[in-house]
């Protein structure tokens, strides 16, 4: 049986993405037609809720439920916003780029349906600065969609209108945080906002706003065309659909693949990524970007979905796996991660602003062979006090995930650095 790949079916390697006419020929914009002409916004929301689509940006919040918080009806504010979070900046994550550059009309169609479901009148694609070729592809596709009548006034003769703009950012990881993104889009520093009010009620410019990840939005047209049951059946587990999984690090064939949600890490690493380089052994992996806990050999048969990865103390995150091999120093790897988080902390709250540089400094000392045995207690203390509930947003808690799990699984390597006063991987 050939596996259905609703996200990547139109993507042809080394060829430009489908233009609007070609996209239509493959059945493109039929889902939008169905949603806008035959379904009410509530019905669209309900179908997505039934499909059990969970947010693909990393948090895994049910998409339909998120939409359900937006006020609808005559009393709702007239201006509402839908935003595609295309600020893919989680280290080790390169999946949304595949969709942005490979099938931009799928994203636009997903946004049109999603915007209709919450009755938004304006949508933005918030794109990270570095994705220059994505920006070109999307600009072109937006123009095509306007010309074909899928954006603008009175779309498909239904009286619904939607404007869509591309915003390209100028850096900073914080722009990927939902409320940081809203501040950035308003032309401010990308500090996080206090919740409540949640963006669904008071978001961009104080209006109800939904922020969804690119892969999430690209999943919507398939659900509308084929139904919630079809979508659920694509998955190996309870979490619906297919998932873009990626692998980077010292494997034979790094890349991105659309696979059933719940594919095991072993299958992804061995069958799709071709296994480790010859002569190297697998020591562990971050399952979904920099801000997820390490998984190790005993977890290779875990089904990679939100529920099952959480059961072994990590998170599916973005589903892009970063592999640690036995010739790479785990302390150095964690130091690299903490350097990133310390640098990207926006400085808004004290624990994150002061705590992360402290963690980085200690790891730097350990890696150089200047660590003290008590340093491990200080690191453990940070992983607790920078954890969930102690900071303004999820940046520092995310940073602590690889640290706390490295202290658990690679303790002997930390000890060895401290005891021998050098990094065993450096001469």
């Amino acid at each position: 049986m050939t596996m259905e790949k609703p996200l990547t079916k139109n993507i042809r390697p080394d060829q430009p993405p489908l233009e609007v006419k070609e996209y239509e020929k493959t059945g493109g914009y039929q889902a939008a037609r169905k949603a806008l002409k035959e379904m009410s916004p509530k019905q669209v929301q309900e179908m997505v809720k039934q499909s059990n689509l969970k947010g693909r940006g990393g948090a895994g919040f049910p998409t339909g439920m998120k939409w359900g918080f937006v006020p609808l009806g005559d009393d709702a504010p007239k201006t509402k916003y839908l935003i595609a979070n295309a600020d893919e900046m989680e280290p080790g994550t390169f999946k949304d780029r595949v969709l942005l550059e490979g099938d931009p009309h799928l994203l636009i169609e997903g946004m049109l349906i999603s915007a209709y479901a919450i009755q938004a009148s304006v949508a933005y694609i918030f794109l990270r600065w570095a994705y220059k070729s994505s920006a070109q592809v999307i600009e072109k596709a937006i123009t095509e969609a306007y010309n074909a009548g899928y954006l603008g006034k009175n779309i498909l003769g239904t009286g619904y209108h939607l404007d869509l703009y591309l915003h390209t950012s100028v850096g900073r990881y914080m722009c990927g945080e939902e409320t940081g993104l809203l501040n950035a889009l308003e032309g401010k520093r990308a500090n996080p906002r206090a919740k409540p009010p949640f963006p669904q009620i008071s978001g961009l410019f104080g209006k109800p706003t939904i922020v969804n990840n690119v892969e999430t939005l690209c999943s919507v047209p398939g659900i509308i065309s084929n139904g919630a049951e079809w979508y659920k059946k694509l998955s190996h587990t309870e979490d619906g659909g297919t998932k873009l999984y990626g692998v980077s690090g010292k494997v034979k064939k790094p890349g991105v693949w659309e696979l059933p949600m719940g594919t095991t890490m072993r299958e992804i690493l061995e069958e799709h990524a071709g296994g480790m380089w010859d002569g190297l052994k697998f020591r562990g992996a971050l399952p979904g970007g920099a801000s997820t806990d390490f998984m190790v050999e005993e977890h290779l048969d875990v089904q990679m979905d939100f529920t099952n990865v959480a059961k072994v103390g990590s998170r599916l995150g973005t589903g892009t796996i970063i592999v640690l091999d036995d010739k790479t120093c785990p302390v150095g790897m964690v130091k690299n991660l903490q350097h990133f988080f310390a640098q990207e902390s926006c400085g808004w709250c004290t624990p994150c602003r002061d705590g992360l540089p402290w963690v980085e400094k200690i790891l730097d000392a350990i890696e150089k062979g200047e660590g003290q045995p008590e340093d491990l207690d200080v690191l453990a203390m940070h992983s607790k006090y920078l954890g969930p509930g102690n900071t303004f947003c999820a940046l520092a808690p995310g940073a602590m995930e690889p640290l706390q799990s490295a202290l658990k699984y690679f303790k002997e390597d930390f000890d060895r650095h401290i005891k021998t006063k050098k990094c065993p991987w450096r001469n």
Binding site: G92, F94, K132, S169, A184, G187, A190, T320, E344
Partner: protein, 154 residues
């Protein structure tokens, strides 16, 4: 003074938002595109045009790592220092660049040809190590490959 062309481009961005101020990041990008970096004088001019205070705009400009508030070289090298590139050889690339260009991180070569910076994850981790020079992405790098690439930037 902002040029007519800059004002025209900024105006186009303002149309996408309900407030002028919301276009501040776009305006900084427009000016940087034409001038290479954003000076204090530019900050004052843009702020005035967007009805913000210069301090407010500078707070925005200095938050984002790709708004350059100091002059940079003709070409800016942004080397990815995030985890996948680190595993795949970031340190070797960085040492090579420092030595070859005779600069430290954050510095510009004497002939003003290159400025050397790091950048978080470029989202091309299956082709690590990677870097960008100006708007171009270069991937699957080795030091030999990099030497050839640098020659394209005069």
């Amino acid at each position: 003074m902002l040029t007519d062309k800059e004002i025209q481009e900024i105006d186009r961005e303002i149309e996408h938002y309900p407030h002028k101020k919301a276009a501040s990041i776009e305006a900084l990008k427009v000016v940087q595109k034409h001038r290479g970096w954003v000076s204090d004088e530019n900050i004052r001019d843009i702020a005035h045009y967007l009805e913000m205070t210069p301090d407010e705009l500078d707070g925005v400009a200095t938050f984002y790592n790709l708004v350059f508030r100091k002059p940079v070289g003709r070409h800016v090298i942004l080397v990815c220092d995030s985890v996948s590139c680190w595993v795949m050889g970031f340190e070797t690339l960085m040492d090579h660049l420092k030595q070859k260009l005779g600069v430290q991180l954050g510095e510009t070569t004497k002939d003003e040809r290159f400025t050397l910076l790091t950048i978080p994850c470029l989202g091309t981790c299956d082709h690590a190590p990677a870097l960008m020079i100006d708007n171009d992405l270069h991937r699957d790098l080795t030091t030999e490959k990099l030497d050839k690439i640098l020659e394209q930037y005069k």
